[in-house]
Subunit: 287 residues, 2 copies
């Protein structure tokens, strides 16, 4: 049920994005390479919270495509040699490996612009208020107070004298992962001009559970199944949820967070069941 | 008259942007370093076309700040070692030289997000339609069909078998420079929900004249006066307006383009005089 919905939404998002990128420069080929092949969890959050508010999926697919473009840009830039220096992503060579570093910088830059084009697109949200608010909140989630802040804190931690504390890792991950999850989960309510507070609470717990599970996978997975390098954080002596809490306690916290996420959805009743399924999936996944 | 208006608008834009970036991480310090010290020509275009349409300057300063953030991001990423590899910008060390490459990537990324935050800001354009349209058109001007496309064509030219033709350079510069100039010059009309066609025509001619003058300065200027490296294109055997047309013919074309730009403004009468002054300034500047 969840898996087929995820696959259907990922396909719709891919169709929407492919229609946007029609050029044949290496820039365009590399943009397509960077965009596709993931689970599109953030895009699914947009689609599913739109359905929860009776927003037409043919409109919701635009902001859903936008958040996937934003996430894809962040991966391309994170993988650069001057950042995490990763060769493998989603089981494929990273953009700077398959093409070159200059192309990877430009691909990330163009994908970020595309994210905003999709968020503000006239075929997306039905009202100008919603289009403007989606663009504004996406900018805040992505930038110096959101995702980029999380990334900057992560880099700063690498040269800090002491490893991060648990509170510091929570703050860092709230930027790196939580901000885009929060935007995605509230997008349906923003499109429908409805209250997004319960969905933001859901997303905050979900994002943290997601990140804890990422640390669990990094500790326990293997590169073939995960599709990217594993064990790098431990090898570098970086503090993670697993190194600070131990594997069992990290798993227990993630499970508690999933309960919190599901509880946040109580007001929506059975209509939010697939969002609950998503929360449970996030901590069961192995890649 | 023009110089004092430029300076006043640049100061207002700086105040607006400084209020946005209050953190004390190296990310924030480097963002401030990247943003300030230029002439803010693109921001001035927003402010001046807003005045032309009786838009309150206290609102126009938000999209004006946005276009300056967008321009600043493009410079930080263009200067990276994997791109143009420049050490000097506006007479100061570039971000990756003063800090490091990872910081430069993040600074550019955060500045692009900030550009959209400013374009869609509730204190900026007075209507949701204008906020949404400013964000949408900025995304198109900045991304894979605009500025990044121009940059990608520029990189592709470096490894091409033949130097670019004049038409190809015009197309390349239309993306690299023209797209942001066009957005900036039409922003006042977009904010006022007025026709932007004459301002777009003005901006297209202005942008090309600007770029020709950049090539002239690159050929004739010295590094101290210009504040960045000069003569790199010629040394690399890259086709430029000057290499293709010769210095005198390039200057004549730029002068013709300024006439075209000024003619586009005839419908606005004397109210557009400062925009005409700007066009004349663009080809007289030496940095």
């Amino acid at each position: 049920m969840l898996q087929s919905a995820l696959a259907a939404d990922a396909a719709a998002i891919r169709t929407c994005l492919e229609a946007q990128i029609t050029g044949d420069l290496r820039l365009h080929a590399a943009m397509r390479h960077a965009l596709f092949g993931g689970k599109a969890l953030r895009g699914f959050l947009v689609m599913e919270t739109a359905r929860l508010h009776d927003v037409n999926p043919s409109r919701a697919v635009f902001p859903a495509s936008g958040i996937e473009a934003m996430h894809a840009y962040s991966l391309v830039h994170d993988d650069l040699p001057c950042m995490d220096d990763d060769d493998l992503r989603r089981g494929q060579p990273t953009v700077h490996v398959k093409w070159d570093e200059g192309t990877a910088v430009l691909v990330g830059d163009a994908l970020q612009s595309l994210a905003f084009e999709m968020a503000a697109h006239p075929d997306g949200a039905a009202t100008p208020e919603a289009r403007a608010d989606l663009a504004l909140t996406l900018a805040r989630a992505a930038g110096k107070d959101g995702m980029v802040l999380g990334q900057a804190l992560d880099i700063a931690a690498e040269t800090a004298a002491d490893p991060l504390t648990l509170d510091q890792i929570v703050a860092l991950q709230d930027g790196k992962t939580g901000a885009l999850f929060g935007w995605a989960a509230s997008a349906g309510a923003v499109m429908a001009r409805a209250d997004s507070a319960p969905l933001l609470a859901y997303a905050q717990a979900l994002g943290l559970a997601f990140q804890i599970q990422d640390d669990v996978i990094d500790q326990t997975g293997d590169v073939t199944a995960v599709g990217k390098a594993v064990g790098k954080d431990a090898a570098a002596g970086k503090a993670t949820f697993v190194s600070l809490l131990g594997l069992q306690e990290a798993k227990r916290r993630a499970s508690d967070l999933v309960d919190t996420a599901c509880d946040s959805l109580s007001g929506y009743g059975k209509r939010a069941e697939r969002l609950r399924d998503l929360a449970r999936f996030v901590i069961s996944r192995q890649s």
